[in-house]
Structures are given as C-alpha cells and as structure tokens.
Symmetry: C2
C-alpha cells in the first residue's frame, strides 16, 4: 500500500481538525483509496496550549523547518496563516520537492502567482480546497466537476462571520454593533474583526475562485471591496419591504470579455436560494454555460469541516490527481468598478417638503438612472424622513455622480446610503 | 498533447449535449487540462431524426459495435439507457479494454455489481457522474471531496419530474393529475411517467449514492420505494399549516451499523434549505462526520447539464484519476423498512362525533405512538371531516399496526393516509 508521509505546520484550530481526521479516519481512507496517510510530524511554536487531542512527543516539534527539511515527508500542510512566514514555509517546502496543502487564502490571493509559479516549475502540487468555503469542496467542483463549462458567474457567501452578523440583524432587528458583539461572544468573530467585516477575507477568497474560474493570475489588488459596517437595521427592514435580503456577496462574472471582481453588501431577492443561507453557513452559486445554475452549501469554517478539505487535498495529491490547473496565465481585463452595471437601492434622509422627490428624481434622470420604485414613510414637519428608491439597471459611475449632486441638495441631510441590488429587473 | 479518442453510443438528448460540449469546448478543455478530447464516432440507430447539431457523415454510424470494436477508441460513452442492450455494450466495451462513461442509473442500480466487477478485474474505469443529479458533480463530491468523512446521511431531491409536480401542487393548489398533465405538456414527464412518479428513478439513484457513501454493493432491490401518486392538494395544505413542505426524498443513512435505504414523499420543515428547492431542480443534502451539513443544487437533467457531467468524467478518466472506488464490497445490513423510526403525519376521514379523537389516540397509545399535534377542521353532522395528527418519533411497524386497527373503526371512513416527517422533534 502506498504510504504518504505528512508534516503539518500549525497546530491551531484547523491543524487540530486535520490531525484528528488523519488519525481517526486512517483506516477508512485506506479502504476507500488504497492510500496510507501517515502523520509524521506536527510543528507549532506553542506546544503547551491545551488542545482536545494529545499526540505522542515524537510527533511534535517546535521547529517548522524540521518538517520542511525532512526528506521522508511527501506533503507539507501549511496551517499557520498570514502572509509572511507562511510564504517562506511554502516556498521552501516546494524548493525541497514537497507538495503543499494550505488553507491560507490571504497568502494565495496576495502571493499566489509567485507560489504557483514555483510549484509549476518543479512539477509539484498545491492543494488549496480549504482556502475557500471550509468543508465545501468548491475548488474541486469548479476545477474538475465543471471542467467542461465556461464560467459565467460566481456569487458567494464566503465569510461566515459577516453572514452571521447580517442574519442576526435581519431576524432580530438589532444593529451592526450589537450583532458584532454577539458574534465575538460566540467566537465567530475575532477581537479585531477587520478582515471579516470589511470584506477583505471575502475578497481574498473571490480572488482565488476567479483565478480558477477564468484561469487568470491572482488579482487581489483589483477586487473592489466594501464591508458591512455601514449596513443598518433600517436598510435591512426596507430591503425586506421590497422583497430582498441583504447579504455580503463576493461576485465575479465575465461580460464581453471583461471580468468583474467585487465584494459588497448586496440586496438579493428573498426567493433566491442563496438568500436563505443563514448564520455562519457559506454558499457559492456557480453558473456555467453548460450546467446552468448550481449552488454549493456548507460550513465555511471550523476545525473539522476545514480539516475535511485539507485531508481531501492530501488524498488527491497522493492519488496523483492534478490538483493544479495547467496555469493561471489567461489574458484578462478587470472591469473598473465605475463601469459595472447594477440595480441600486438608495436611502436619503430628506426633509419632508413638497418637491423633494421631484428634485432627487430629476438628478437621477439627468444621469440616466431610471427609478423602479419608491417608499416614503412617516411625516415630520421639522425633521427629515427616509426616502427610499430602487432603480433599474444603471452604471456605477452615473450613480456616484448623481449622489454627489444629491448630497449637496439643501433638502437632503446626512450622507446618502446606497446598496447594489441583484436579481431580475422588475 | 495527450489525445483521447471518444466514441458515443446514443445520440439522443444527452448524446447531443455531450457532442456539442466536446466540439465547442475542445479548446477550453485543452487549455485547462492539457488534454485533447477527440470525438471519433457517434452511433445511433436513427440518424435521420432532426437534431440541433449536425455532424460530418464520417463521424456517424448506425452500428454501436463499430465503436466498441474500434481499437483507436479509448473511452466509450453509453447513452442509450435501459438495462438490456446498454449492459451488453458496456460489458463488451470493458472486455475490449475501453474505459466507460455512462449516465445510466437504472443499469448501474440493477446490474452495477456485475459491471464494476468486470471493470475492476481489468483495471478500467467507469465514470457515472451523469447518472445522479444531472450536472451537479455529486458523485465527485462524495467520492473525492468528502473522502475524509464517514457519511452519516444523504437526503436527495433527485427526480426533477416529481419535484416539478409537487412544486406545482404546492404553489397552485392543483391536484396530482393536473400537475402531471402540465409536466407532460412541458416535456418534463414522459408519456408513461411510471419510473418517475412511482419513485423508481429516485430509487435507482439513491442506490448509487448509497454504494458510494458506504462502499456497499448496489442494492436496488432493498430500496423501499413509494411514489407521489397518492399525495393530494389537501395533504400539501395541511403540511403547510404545520410548517412543512412535501418533497419526494431519496434517503440513505446509517444508524448503529444499519443502513436505511428508502424513497417516499416526506414532509420537510419549510425553513430547511432543501425544502426551498423547487421546480425541476435537484438538490442533495450530504452529512459527513467531519464536514457536517452540506448541500449541492442544480439541474438534475437536460441535454447540456448532463453533458457537462459526462465530459467531466471523460476528463477525469483521461487524467488518470481513479474514478472508481477501490470496491463496493463492504459488509452491510439494510434495515427493514418496518424497523425504521420516523415522525408521521396522518390524515383520517373521521365522523364528526364526540370521542373519535379519543378512540384514535387510544389506538396510538397502545402502539407506543405519541401525538405531537392535532388539527381538526370543519363541522359536519352527517359526513366525515379530516382529522390530522402529527406524531413524535415512532416505529414504522407500530404505525402500520395502529393504522390497521384504526381503519377498522366504524367512525373512520376511507383508507387513512400517512406521510413520513423529517426534522427536529417538536
């Protein structure tokens, strides 16, 4: 039976899950694949931290380089995260002839081109199923299952933290800060939640999916990225009135040869399957030219689900499956954000005076923005009331210019809010 | 560049899709995989039938054996369907050293053991992604993506025809016969719809998924199979009152080493993602011990989606991926249907007299069936009114015995109806 020796760098959440699976499912995997996955070494700077699995001392080391240099190790699993030392570990492992499995989306999104070049030159494989969608085998699905398709569009809820926060806000009517605090209490959000709530984590992941889908270099710097910190309970309630939910979507699609690459809060029709994906769950909608609409749903994080993806990668590498596309070198253009077209939701804080709607819609008209529906609520002689407008498809640049003008109108107080809207035009 | 010569037997719906994809996406697949998929020959008894693609004459033949015997052909794609001549084609192709790709769920479910034995002995591969879930890469997901998981349960909506009919009945309140007629008009149901509406097609497919999930021989004859012909608009309306939808689910799960294998109409909590899968779409919920809950959604049939799966199989075979599990020889026990436990929905046609509920619930009590909720509607001095009961978990055999007694009660007219219920116990 073919033996595969595995070294794991990083004995944290995902490391622990991976170790458990390698030990507990060793026989199952032998039976299923004819492969013996041998856990040879686990490295972590801190071996004293309490973990819910204990390993014999000879399996543990504080020195990651011991694993990277070990001539018996076939596959190095990088689970330390971050974009500094992890990069060195992976590059050096490749230079030492080892296949690599990683869950590190930030590293791949930001330095993937360099890493894959190194691997390609050496004929080595990089497994990265765990980098997007946790346990959902979305990388395999796009790369192998849908290999016969031109990819038309991917829409992903690929950050569990923000989906948990938006779900809480939606069902309990609470505000962002309260929902964030609850996410932190439950361990779904970090003490510093920036990467999640600003959409950066989603941007990392959609970078990876876009490279896979279109065969293009990793283009993290071209991702338009907007987080959920400005979403209010009020906007969620208005969205509901129009039949929408607000989700943080990571989007990549191709139109006339131009690729869109963006992360932002999005109003999604309530009856779409993806808008029913609640809590910490992830889902990725993939549209191919042959297969049509498909969707993949599961836990986007966590020790065991992510470990499940890591181990599947190890098996694929051991079976000799080409887990790496031929290359990521397709020529491409990323469409500038200003050029995208979308429907839009606007909320203005407008003085409750005659003619306000006509003024605002006048500005819209001048910028080729056509209004689909309006909600104006409440009456207030003194103060401002929310005026909510849904538009037909318009260009982002027209929207930005119109907003600039509208925000200068004396009848409009506060800065206006807008959220992009997906779905069929009404 | 590695060339793979392909022969297709069966130029019908799926055959046409496969041919189109092989021709249109040839360059795309070359770029992605480094493989040149060459369509060498297409066989069909009827070459005159109008198709929306025309092939050069030299690619066409009426004689399937020409493909099977052609020494240059590497992969034979069987798309004729049925369990007679298709079986001979596949076995003879294997004997001639060819890999096989098939969409034929009936054949695999009923004769898969013989076919896989032949392939295994000869070290040949059988791709069958297209046999379940159309374009959804569910076979690959279970076999490779979730390879590190013990499979706990699979719940599938894997027949588009019945899901279309139930969706129509649910949203339009129409009866089964009317919905079936509409499905036939739209081409979603065949003139003889038996295989679909009696659940047999779903039983074929769950047989295949169970073999993959548990490594067991194909066990079609052990599948409990009940179709949707007895579902009424009334039951769908009552289900809605309790917060459920009625779906035809194909279920396989393992409990204490015993495998359940069954297809029947099932009440599913409305808020479950799978209960939102409407129309001809399919979805498969897969629960693994590491990954937890996952779901895969897409078109379960059709020319291009199914062709997408066929071509993905050809690519996997060409890449040398082991598309076949080591074997399907795990020892196993299928739990007899009478031994399963479930929650249940009952509808009785009961005379509207005092004491009826007490009589019925008395029989339930004697058979260890505990009632969760009751709906009794309408008043009718002369006739019968529907009495609807939802139970906690009970054993199927106790339910059948209780029903036998209840149906004999003079206060109960007509045969009683029961539907199994999934979800958390209330």
């Amino acid at each position: 039976m073919k033996k595969i020796n595995i070294g794991i760098i990083g004995f944290g959440t995902v490391g622990t899950g991976t170790v458990k699976i390698l030990l507990n499912q060793r026989d199952l995997i032998k039976k299923r694949t004819g492969l013996d996955l041998v856990l040879k070494k686990v490295a972590d700077r801190d071996l004293e931290r309490p973990r819910d699995i204990s390993l014999p001392k000879e399996l543990l080391t504080k020195d990651a380089w011991e694993i990277i240099k070990d001539p018996e190790i076939d596959v190095v699993v990088e689970l330390v995260g971050g974009t500094t030392i992890a990069k060195e570990f992976i590059l050096e492992a490749l230079r030492n002839g080892k296949h690599v499995v990683t869950a590190n989306k930030a590293l791949l999104a930001e330095h993937g081109n360099e890493i894959f070049k190194e691997a390609l030159q050496r004929g080595l494989k990089i497994g990265f199923e765990a980098s997007v969608g946790g346990g959902i085998p979305i990388i395999k699905v796009i790369k192998e299952g849908l290999v016969a398709n031109k990819m038309l569009a991917i829409y992903g809820i690929i950050n569990g933290t923000t989906n948990f926060i938006l779900t809480k806000m939606t069902y309990e009517g609470i505000d962002f800060q309260d929902a964030l605090r609850e996410a932190q209490t439950l361990g779904y959000a970090e003490a510093d939640p920036t990467l999640d709530i600003e959409g950066i984590d989603s941007a990392h992941k959609i970078t990876i999916l876009a490279s896979l889908a279109y065969g293009i270099p990793f283009s993290f710097n071209s991702v338009y990225c907007e987080g959920i910190t400005k979403i209010t309970a009020q906007d969620i309630a208005f969205a509901k009135e129009f039949g929408y939910k607000i989700k943080l979507l990571a989007i990549t699609k191709i139109l006339d040869g131009e690729i869109e690459l963006r992360v932002h809060p999005t109003m999604v029709p309530e009856h779409y399957l993806i808008s029913k994906v609640d809590g910490v769950f992830n889902a990725i909608y993939v549209e191919g030219d042959c297969v049509g609409s498909t969707l993949y749903y599961g836990r986007g994080a966590g020790s065991m689900p992510t470990g499940s993806a890591v181990v599947a990668d190890i098996v694929d590498i051991a079976k000799g499956i080409n887990t790496m596309p031929v290359d990521f070198s397709e020529k491409y253009t990323i469409k500038p954000m200003q050029e995208i077209e979308s429907m839009y939701y606007f909320r203005f804080n407008a003085l409750d005076r005659p003619g306000v709607l006509s003024k605002i819609s006048g500005v819209f008209g001048e910028h080729n923005i056509s209004i689909a529906s309006v909600i104006q609520k409440g009456r207030s002689k003194a103060g401002a009331v929310p005026l909510v407008i849904l538009t037909h498809k318009a260009k982002e640049k027209d929207v930005l210019r119109a907003l600039e003008e509208i925000d200068k109108l004396p009848v409009v107080s506060d800065k206006s809010v807008f959220i992009r809207v997906e779905g069929e035009e009404s």
